[in-house]
Structure formats: C-alpha cells, structure tokens
Symmetry: C2
Subunit: 431 residues, 2 copies
C-alpha cells in the first residue's frame, strides 16, 4: 500500500460504495450479460476522479501506457487476462507485434513496452516491438536503467501484411494512439488482427461520442442499481466549430458552458454540496487533455488572453481543435503525500488488472493532473478490485473502495465498447 | 515465501526447467490448442513429486479441498478464473450451490468451504452451501475460530432440480468426491449444471484410466518439447481382481510389481540414478491413497501380515478394493523445515491459481504424505506460475521452478479432461 494515501474514505461516496458491495452479484451478472452482447476493448486505462460525493471517469484511454507502474502483484492477473483475450481473438497465435508511440526515447515509456512484452510473453507469445516511426531504420537495442532492454525494429509491409524481418505476426497490438492521424501502413491489413482498431485512434475518436455512450451505460447501470446516474457520470456536452484563435463560435461556447454549469449547480443543490461547480474544456478529438482547461464561470472565456487561447487551439500533437467537449469538472478528494491524486484503473479483456495513482504536486484538486510534473504511484489495487470485504463498514476498507473503482472503470470500458461498435466503419448495418 | 523450503533447485531437474522456459511460447500455444478441443475440468488440485531427476503428478483430485491454504495473493487469480469459467458454463447464472463433503465437522474443511464461497461471490454469484448429508435436517450455522461463519443447509430435490428452500441454483458445484458412491439425489438433474460430472466421483473413476490418459498427454507433450516423457510421467499399470484378505490374485500382482520395478530400474540405469526404485500400490478406485503402500521388492508382498493386508483391502471410506494401481514411486526431494514435502497445484478452468506444500514430519521421502499428521504450508506460487524469469540460470529461481510445476499440473488437468471425455456415459459416439 502507498503510505499517506487519503482515498476520501469518508463522505457520501460511502453510500455508493455500500450500494455496490451489497449488489455485487447483480453487478457482476450485469457485466457478464453485457459482455455476451458486446466485445470489450482489448485494453484500457480509465482515469477516475473521486469527489467524495461522486465518482466518475474523466478519460478512457484505449492505448494505455504506464503498465510499468503497476505493482508486481498485478502482473499475474494481467497474464491471465491476456491468455483469455488471445484465446478469443486468435487461439492459434504464435507471434504478437507491438507498435509503440513514435519518436519516443522516454525511458518510462520504454519500460512500459518492456512490461507489455513481458505480459504477452508469459501468456505464450513471441513478442517483438515494431516501430512505424520512419526514423527507425534498423533494429535498435535500448538498455534501460534497471537492466531491461527493449529492441525497436522497423516494421515492414509485405502485401497486405505487416511484420518485421522474419517475423509475421497474427495479431498487432497498437500502443500508439495515432495522435497525428491514421498512417497508411496500418490500413487494409489482410488476415491480421489489429487491436485496437484504427477507428479508436485519437484523431478519429470523439470524446463527446464516448461520453454519450457512457451516459447511456450509466443510466442503465444506475437503473439496475437504483442510484442517480449522476453519482457516476460527469455531465458532458459537445460544442462544435469553435476557433479559439479567430474567436469564432466563442459565444455559443459560452452559452453551452453556462447551461452545463447550471445543470451542475442544480445537482450540487440537490445533494447539498457547497463547493463551486466548474467545467473542463477539452479538445473533442486528438491526444487528450493537454489543453484541458477548468472554467468556473462562462464569463472567464471572454477574458481569455492570447496565450490561453492559443494553448486551447491545438492538441499536444499540434492538431487544430475544431470541436470542444464541455465536461462537468469532478474535483478530486484524494491525496498522496499532500499532492492531488487520481486513480487510473487498468483493464485487459473484461478484467480489471489493477491501478495506479496519478499524482501532481503542483496542481489543485480542480485541475487536470495530466501535465508535465505528474508522476505515478503504483497502488496495490490487487486485492482491492477482486476481493471486496462485504460486512466491513463502508469507507473503512480500501479493498471495498477499490472494488467500486473497478466497477466504474468497467463502465467506462463498456462505454468504449459501445462507442467502437457505433463508430466502426466496417460494421454491418441491419435495417 | 516459506522459510527453509528446499525445492531441490539442483540436479537434472534444472535441465527440464530450462527446456520448459525456453519453450514457453510453444508450451502455452500447445495448451491453447488443446483447450480448443477439450474442456478443462472445472477445478483440480494436482499432487506432484519432484525427485530431483523427474517431476510427476501422483494424484489429480477433481474435487479439490484446501482452498483455504492458498495465500491471499492467489485469490484474485481464482476470482478471475471463476469469472471466466462461469461465463462459459452459464453466463446468466445468479445462484451457485456448493455441495460439501458429508459428516464433516473438520474446521479446516469448513474454512475451505468459506474460501470457495468467497471466490464465487466475488465472481458475482449468490453462493450457498447445501449438504446432501441426511443428518443435516435444518440450516446449521457454524462459526470458525477466525470469525468466519458457514451455513450448511439441507438440499431439497423438487422434480428434476436440486436446490435449497427459496434458492434455485443454475450451477451445482460438487466439493464432495462421492467416496461412497453416487447418491440418487444427484442423478438425472434437469436444466442444471452439475460440476464436476457424476462420473468424476471417486467410486466411478479409475486411477489407472487417468494415468493412461496422462501417459498419452505426456507422450505428446514430450514429443513437442523434445524430452523423454518419463521425466514427467510415473510408469503405472493396473492389476485387477486382487483380494488382499483372501489372497486371491496376489501372485499376479507380484509379477506385475516386479515387471514395473524392472522398467523403473532400467530408467534409473539410463539416467545414472543410484537410488533404490520402488512402486506405490493404490486402490484403483475410491477415495484415494489412504491404503497406498510403498513396495521396494515384489517379494515384500509375500510377507505381508494380516494387518497390512486388511489395511490395503479397503479404502478410507470402507469400500472394498478389487483393482490395484501399481505406480512408479517418485521420491520427493523437497523439504519444508526438514519434513518431506510435496507441491499441490490448484487450477480453475484452464488457469493455474497457485499452490501449497503438503508436509509430513513423520514420513519418509518415499512415503505417501497423505496421512494423519500432514499439514499444509501455503506457498507464494503466485508470481511463480505466471511470471517465470527467462534468462535466469536454471535452478536458482523459484518463479521458474513454479512455472514448471504449473505446466506439469496442467498436463495432469488435461489428462483429467481426456479421462472425463472418455468415460462420459452421455457422450455422443460417432462411428
């Protein structure tokens, strides 16, 4: 366990926790039935925020990195989940190709690759890392400070198949969110499984679509559990055709922000919450959240200076922002060593593997923690998500708290499944 | 880790370990393909013996008890495996009924029931314990020393279905090896899954059939891995129509024992093993091993006194012994606190969950450790079976050793799958 972690073990969130614990068999059965109809995304990391009065996902990453931050205890679960996933996708698989982010010499990211490679090797695959970065022209061996090594090899396209020299994979696992668009080399592959699919790429996906799916999932789950879905759902609305630099669409944005703040204010009143509501503005598409901005009053948008506007105008990969997602801000009540912290829950296939805390010492509880200076603290979620302790008083048991986190993370994963089904360009349409 | 455990990390077994590590992707794929054709037994515990020169299963229990001895670290793996198993068997399941052994007031066995109940509750089922012991006439609540409680309820048969008052299960899990035969109340159930099936019961199963299947599995696995299957297989032969009390069939038994000892002696010579070979005689059917007897020379059988003969004549549940399994004795080279120890590996669905050591302070390395006075030491197999460490020198890494144990345990599980398919009275026959 992480020392000095405050997981907000008090407050109304305890009622939610108790409700979920009491309904555990019903919840698990509900997921089981959902997975009969829907295919889970291959892997995800769900970023949650625990406000003490609600618990909601704020981002569902379909190309999760940071597997290296998971504690050793969680790896056997990841291996077991990987075995289950492979068995379903391609039971005859021998070879798996991992496609990493481009242009990365980030040692932490490379350690993430080593960890993914380890997990899939233990699950019984030959695993190699093939870069689509045109700068990688030959196999490059990189030694990490802990003695691990990773070899980046240039991918080769041969007809309809992607591989490496003398390595023809059955499955290609993207750990690259395709932040600058879909590279042609990945298109029209023949007879190979590409996971996640290309339409999960950051420039194709819309966050607003994801949260519309999440809203639907949350409503159905809330009905089953007998709770107000707002307790697990951040109110979200898209706003299209916004140009921060030219100032086009700003009035509409202001109106929408105001409308959303009014909704949140009403909910705060209903629940007797005395904090000041706020929203977060994010680019609806593109690598997530770097331009995310908290807004407490629609008027703040009028007063945006040039610097703030140009920061919002592009994603971290330099893609222009055209549509904005306005999302209810969920303050975090969690701290690690006095720093604001938010849980990140990892899933593979339909299983919760574990989690880490993202911690930022310089950011407030209303701010986005995905920013330079953030660090990760592995958290022994292990027993947590799978081993809740019914009968223990709510708010006093970390395993019970983490069971709830695992449930909400799976709701986010389920929403991603709905989303990918709805946006699949190759989906068969039955009319 | 268990202190003072000597897992025989030296000797020729290291070559086997190295071979398995090197072939990990091939081994895992081999199992994946096998599970496409065969259904894994719901759960098993495989009792292994590591002789330093070979590693072989000596018993594959299809109604494993002792789940309470597994360390806490292993439970999330059990929950995840249970989720996978339920999803395949009955994804709509709400209720699971566990049928325990009869006549048990053994606190350790009851703790095992609590643990099983906990695992399946976490996997999302309402779980209750229904006894088929006619002595259980009303719900009986038993408190365990650690504060856990278990409620034994009398089962009710209503038409074709078995359940409890106001509890209609979809799946019935036997944790009762049916040592005195198949009770009528379990026969001809309608629309309910009974796991394991009745033909896995101790009085129906033949150990000789299991080991014939294991021999087949071992040969195929050995061929794939390029090893002599004897390294993972105890030579076994059945001997029918033996009556220890009347002395009938004893000459034939002596001949068979002698023949098997000769085979083992030949193998010992081939591998330069200087120990004295021996065989173990077991009742071919019935609750296992209580009458198991080591024999170093066929002539010993002539000199058996009345007491020894009558001990062999019945199983621990008083069932008469008619057929005998003669099995190559595998001495154990493992010790916990200077006591002879043997690993017991638990599986659920196709997954290795973890393991414990069975330890007997008063038994020799050639003797059966399943006897009064035996105890169990939970062993942190967790990382072991899923997280081997390639590149580490063989014989120095417990995780690598336990990976090998997990492989051999899965071979035993696969043999049980073959066995249950071959002995299924309802199997469809294609001619």
């Amino acid at each position: 366990m992480v020392p000095h972690l405050i997981t907000a073990l008090t407050g109304p969130i305890n009622e939610l926790e108790q409700r979920m614990l009491d309904a555990m068999p019903a919840i698990e059965r509900w997921f089981r039935l959902e997975w009969m109809e829907h295919t889970p995304p291959f892997y995800t990391s769900a970023h949650l925020r625990n406000a003490g009065f609600k618990l909601a996902p704020v981002n569902t990453n379909l190309f999760p990195r940071g597997w290296n931050f998971l504690s050793e205890d969680m790896l056997p679960l990841a291996v077991q989940a990987a075995i289950a996933a492979i068995e379903k996708i391609c039971p005859e698989a021998r070879n798996l190709l991992i496609i990493p982010e481009n242009h990365t010499r980030n040692l932490s990211y490379l350690a993430n690759l080593v960890q993914l490679q380890r997990i899939f090797q233990r699950a019984g695959l030959n695993v190699r890392v093939g870069s689509i970065d045109p700068g990688v022209k030959k196999a490059t061996r990189i030694e990490l400070p802990n003695g691990d090594t990773v070899v980046l090899e240039p991918v080769m396209r041969t007809g309809g198949r992607l591989g490496l020299k003398h390595f023809d994979p059955c499955t290609i696992l993207l750990n690259n969110e395709l932040a600058t668009g879909t590279p042609g080399i990945l298109e029209d592959l023949y007879g190979q499984y590409l996971l996640p699919p290309l339409h999960a790429g950051a420039t194709v996906r819309c966050k607003s679509k994801h949260f519309r799916c999440y809203e639907e999932v949350g409503k159905r789950f809330g009905k089953m559990l007998g709770i107000d879905p707002w307790l697990i759902h951040p109110i979200s609305a898209p706003c299209e055709d916004v140009d921060f630099v030219q100032g086009a669409g700003m009035e509409r944005l202001q109106t929408e922000v105001d409308a959303l703040l009014t909704k949140v204010r009403r909910k705060y009143k209903e629940y007797g919450i005395h904090e000041k509501p706020f929203v977060i503005l994010k680019a609806d598409q593109g690598a997530y959240s770097m331009g995310a901005m908290p807004v407490h009053d629609a008027k703040e948008l009028e007063a945006l200076n040039r610097k703030a506007r140009s920061k919002m105008a592009v994603t971290k990969d330099g893609m222009p922002v055209q549509a904005v997602l306005i999302q209810e801000g969920v303050p975090t009540q969690e701290r690690v060593h006095e720093s604001a912290a938010e849980p990140v829950v990892y899933t593979m296939d339909r299983y919760v593997i574990g989690g880490v805390y993202r911690v930022h010492p310089e950011r407030g509880t209303n701010e986005n923690l995905n920013a330079p200076g953030a660090s990760f603290v592995p958290l022994a979620f292990t027993h947590g998500t799978q081993m809740p302790q019914p009968g223990v008083r709510p708010g006093t048991s970390a395993p019970n708290r983490f069971y709830m986190y695992g449930v909400v993370a799976r709701l986010a994963m389920l929403a991603a499944s709905y989303e990918l089904e709805a946006t699949d360009p190759n989906a068969e349409v039955y009319d």
